[in-house]
Structures are given as C-alpha cells and as structure tokens.
C-alpha cells in the first residue's frame, strides 16, 4: 500500500525526522489506515461538487480599520531564540 520509500518521502515533506524503527512501524500502520480510507474510491462521485465550506456564508467583510498588533517584545517573548529584535534560527545552508 505504502512502502518505506514513500514514508521517507512524506516525512521529508512534513519536516519530520523518523528513526529506523519508526519508519518500519509507520509503514505498517499507515498502510492499514490507507486501506480503510481507500473505501471512498469505490463510490461513484462523478458530478458531485466538493464541499469546501459546510455552512453558507457570504463573503465575510469587515471595515478595514488599522488597529494595534502585538508589541514586538510580546511577540518575541515565547521564542526559543531571539537576536537583534527578531526570531533567531540556525543558518539554512550550514
């Protein structure tokens, strides 16, 4: 259903590290879940529109009035690392 390579590919897309053990366990578990999900492929859905929103709402507009946003120090208060009044991260190219 889903093989080891696909699990590794999806984990890369999701920015999720998996140990060797986890890769084999997920391969089995995800296959079982996907098999259950496959049930929907049996339905004839030609011409059925997708539901993107369950309750009809017209465009939700509000007046475009400026209002204060979070002060910088508050926005940074929970950050694991702060440098120069901004979020600090390791280099993308190191």
């Amino acid at each position: 259903m889903i093989d080891r390579e696909q699990v590794l590919h999806v984990a890369r897309l999701a920015r999720l590290e998996l140990s060797e053990d986890e890769v084999s366990r997920m391969t089995g578990e995800l296959s079982a879940i996907l098999e259950h999900i496959e049930k929907i492929s049996a339905l004839d859905l030609d011409g059925v529109p997708p539901t993107t929103h369950v309750v009809d709402v017209p465009n939700a507009l509000r007046p475009d009035v400026p209002r204060p946003c979070l002060p910088r120090e508050v926005a940074l208060a929970n950050a694991p690392a702060v440098d120069d009044d901004g979020f600090s991260v390791p280099s993308p190219t190191a």
């Binding site: 590919h9 920015r15 999720l16 999900i37 859905l45 529109p49 926005a75 929970n78």
Partner: protein, 477 residues
C-alpha cells in the same frame, strides 16, 4: 451553603444571583477540588489569588453565569496561562491573548478555573495521547474517559469543575461526555468563534459545552455563540439560545439510521439505546428508520480530511516562534528534530497521512474525493431532515474501555468515532446525553438536527433527560 458541589452550574448561578451563595466561596470550593484532582483531568489550576479576584464584589454576583468557574480544554489560548494542547511541543507555552469563547464566558461570569487535559492537538478518542499522561474515568479509574476532551469530561463528571468547554472535530466533545455520563454539545459549525483555539482541522473544529445536565449546556452555550471579526467562518446565531423546558416529545419525529443494526455496537449499549427510544415514544415521539447511505463512508472521508488539514495547521510548530526547539547546526535539521521530539506518535502518524493525502499526485484521489463524499453526507442529512426532525444514535459503539486496550491498533481506536464523525462533516449540531448504564458504565444517546437547530435539540434532550432520570452522583463520590 453546605453542599456546593451537589448544585448544578445553573443552580449555583441562581443561588449567587439571589445572594444565597458567595461567589468567592463557590470558586474556592471548586478550586480546592480541582487542585486535589487525582484523575489527571487538570494540567493547570488557578491559584488562591483567583479566588480573591472572583470573590464577593467581583464579577460573579450580577452576571448571567453567576461566577460559576469554568474548566477550559488546554487547546484554548488563555493569556499568560499555559496553553499546551496536550503537546510537548507547546510545553509551558503562555499565549499573549485569550480565545474569544473563553473571553466571552469570563465576561458573562464564568471565570477560568483551570486548564483540562486532552489528547495531543485533539487527536484521539481516549485521552491516552496526551504528553501530560492519560486521564482516568471517574466511574472506573482503570478505564479511559474518552477523548479528545477527556479532561473536561472527567472533571465535570467528578465534580472538580461545575462545567467545562471542549472542542469537537469528529466527536471529541460527545464521545467523552458519553463515556463519563455527562452532557456534551457539538454546535453548528460557525456558531462559536474559533479564534484562539489551537487548530486541528479548521473546517471541522467547533467549541462546545460539557456539562452535568442539559440546562447547564444551554446556559453555557448561549454565552459562547456569536459572530467574531477574528474568525471569518463565525456566524451570528440566528435566534436566542433558550433554556429548555419541554416535558413531552409530541409530534417529534426521530430517525434511526438504516444501517444501525447493532452490528459493531456492544449489546449493552444497544439495549440502552432501544430503551431510550421507547422512553421517547412514551413521551409522544415517533421513531422511524431513515436512509443515510453514505454515513458508512464518513469515517474514511474524515480520516483523509482531518489529517490533511492537521498536517497543514501543524506546520507552524517548527521551533522558531514559540514552543520546543532542538538545537542543530542547520535549519532543516532543527525543524526535523524539533518536530520529531515535540510531537507524540499519533500526531506524527496523522501528519504523515495528511501530508501523503495532499502530496503531488494523490490530492485528487484522497482530499478531493473526501470533499465530494462530504457533499454526499450533507445531502443525505438534508434528505433525512425532510422526513424526521432529529436523527438519533448511540454516541459511541461501546462504554469506556480499559486504559491501553486500543493503543496498539490506531484503526480500532478510530472506529470509536463511527457515530460522531458524520455530523461535523455536514457541519450540523448534535448532543450526547447519558441514557443509563451498561456494565456499570455510562452510555450516551446522541441527537442530531439540522444546522442551527440547537434549541430544538436541547428541548428534546431535556425532555428525555427528565424521563430517563440518570443519576450521575456516583462519579462525584
């Protein structure tokens, strides 16, 4: 007031309003009980300073909710108070703002009592997926309380909170309410603002009350609804939420889904369900079978849509702006290590399913098809509600199961949601009320109606509740 905890929230609010009960005494009675909670239902409890703030002369006395304190599921953001969504990746996260529904309830006189335990990011049906440990069911401490709002349900059942709020994406209010012998309402999508709710699956998530009885649910829900500029999917509730008063069900047509034959449902649960249908008939309701031909596909569609939306929503937890970070020399390794260590196994599993379902080449086969199934399910309900007023089912196929019984098999755990998943897919409201015991454990009875039919649902649930006479006091002993 000798036995504060014996009062329902509505009774306590009324006693405060009449001056018979001091709101500070009320708050402290529950604060002390919550602080001594031994079910692991709370992950944070207000301090004694909160009792002083909520005492006589505080907000309680003249307010509609009387100062009756509120248990709040951990995934609601509360300013300056830990809001961790049951996840290690948000351990000790203290948000700079408060969720709209929590703010509205506090303003109406239901101050924050504590934050309640939950399955991580609301993913689970047993509360065993919390980074802060499982919650125990007060009816039997060897069993789960249900999930994902398991802490809120257990706290209300055990009387360590007079009432609480939770969120429901595929059953996360109704199923734990059923397993703990209390009332849980999942409102129409859009009734309550999602602003400040840490998102799981945005097109399905709704906040709602978990309470000791139907009257408390109506009272709390009435102060949660309303359009919010900060949630573009929120809608003004079209009528006032009324306190339910119905004693009879004359003329009410109840529909039982065609495919509900008892297969896959515990015999004791089915027996309580049938007995409740008889009570409904005795109160004047008619019961008929209704076709819901696509309900059986609900679970499959749900386990595409919810993980897909979750994989997108949970992309924000990357160790940059808040929460856990695992240090590394380069950015990509920092992301992957942080997310590996911060998320528990079920969350990782769902992120992977969701990412797979949304990945190039698979989108149409999974997410696109699931959205079409969603349309069919909503159409089924629309047709059914031309024939009946409310659709009824058992809330959960079984009673509370033993801790650890289903953790090894994710799919078996998902089947718990069989009866609760179709309603959020269609955006419609549903309530679970206790309808008796099976094997000495509570059984839930679910009533669902069309969008914005909460008043009708609450009325029918109230009439049934009076006739059933379920005794929930053993859980508070």
């Amino acid at each position: 007031m000798s036995d504060i905890v014996a009062l329902t929230a509505a009774q306590a609010a009324a006693a405060v309003g009449k001056g018979d009960l001091d709101p500070g005494e009320l708050f402290e009675a529950y604060r002390a009980r919550a602080a001594a909670d031994d079910l692991n239902a709370f992950v944070w409890v207000a301090g004694e300073d909160a009792t002083r703030a909520n005492g006589a002369g505080g907000a309680g006395g003249a307010s509609p909710l009387g100062g009756v304190p509120l248990g709040v599921k951990d995934l609601f953001c509360t300013e300056g108070v830990p809001s961790q969504a049951g996840s290690k990746i948000l351990e000790d996260y203290r948000p700079p703002y408060t969720a709209t529904v929590v703010r509205k309830l506090a303003e109406a006189g239901a101050p924050l009592l504590g934050k309640t335990n939950q399955d991580e990011f609301a993913m689970g049906s047993s509360n065993e997926n919390s980074a802060f440990g499982p919650v125990l069911n007060p009816w039997d401490r060897g069993r789960v309380p249900g999930g994902s709002s398991g802490g809120s349900a257990a706290a209300v059942a055990a009387g360590t909170a007079p009432w609480a709020i939770g969120t429901d994406t595929g059953g996360s209010i109704r199923q734990p309410a059923a397993l703990c012998g209390i009332v849980g309402l999942k409102p129409t999508y859009g009734s309550c603002s999602r602003f400040g709710m840490i998102a799981f699956a945005s097109s399905l998530d709704q906040a709602g009350p978990l309470t000791r009885d139907v009257t408390d649910a109506a009272l709390l829900f009435g102060h949660m609804v309303g359009r919010d500029d900060r949630d573009a999917t929120s809608i003004q509730f079209p009528e006032e939420v009324r306190r339910p008063t119905a004693q009879r069900l004359d003329g009410i047509r109840l529909g039982v889904p065609d495919d509900l034959t008892g297969e896959g449902v515990e015999p004791g649960v089915m027996a309580r369900f049938e007995a409740t249908l008889q009570i409904a008939r005795d109160l004047g309701a008619t019961v008929e079978r209704v076709p819901l031909p696509h309900a059986d596909y609900g679970l499959s569609a749900y386990y595409v849509l919810a993980p897909a939306e979750a994989s997108s929503n949970l992309a924000r937890f990357d160790g940059v702006r808040y929460g856990l970070r695992r240090d590394a020399d380069d950015l990509l390794t920092m992301y992957t290590k942080t997310r590996h260590d911060g998320f528990g196994p079920e969350v990782r599993r769902r992120i992977l399913i969701g990412t797979y379902a949304l990945s190039s080449g698979y989108y149409d086969a999974y997410y696109g098809r699931a959205q079409r199934v969603r349309t069919k399910i909503a159409d089924d309900f629309r047709s059914a509600f031309e024939r009946v007023d409310l659709i009824v089912t058992p809330t959960s196929p079984g009673v509370a199961f033993e801790l650890g019984a289903k953790t090894a098999d994710p799919l078996a755990m998902y089947l718990n949601d069989y009866f609760t998943v179709p309603m959020p897919l269609a955006g419609i409201p549903a309530i679970s009320i206790p309808c008796g015991l099976s094997e000495d454990l509570p059984v839930g009875f679910q009533l669902a109606g069309p969008a914005f039919s909460e008043n009708r649902i609450l009325d029918a649930a109230y009439a049934l509740e009076q006739a059933i006479g379920f005794d929930n006091s053993p859980a508070r002993a």
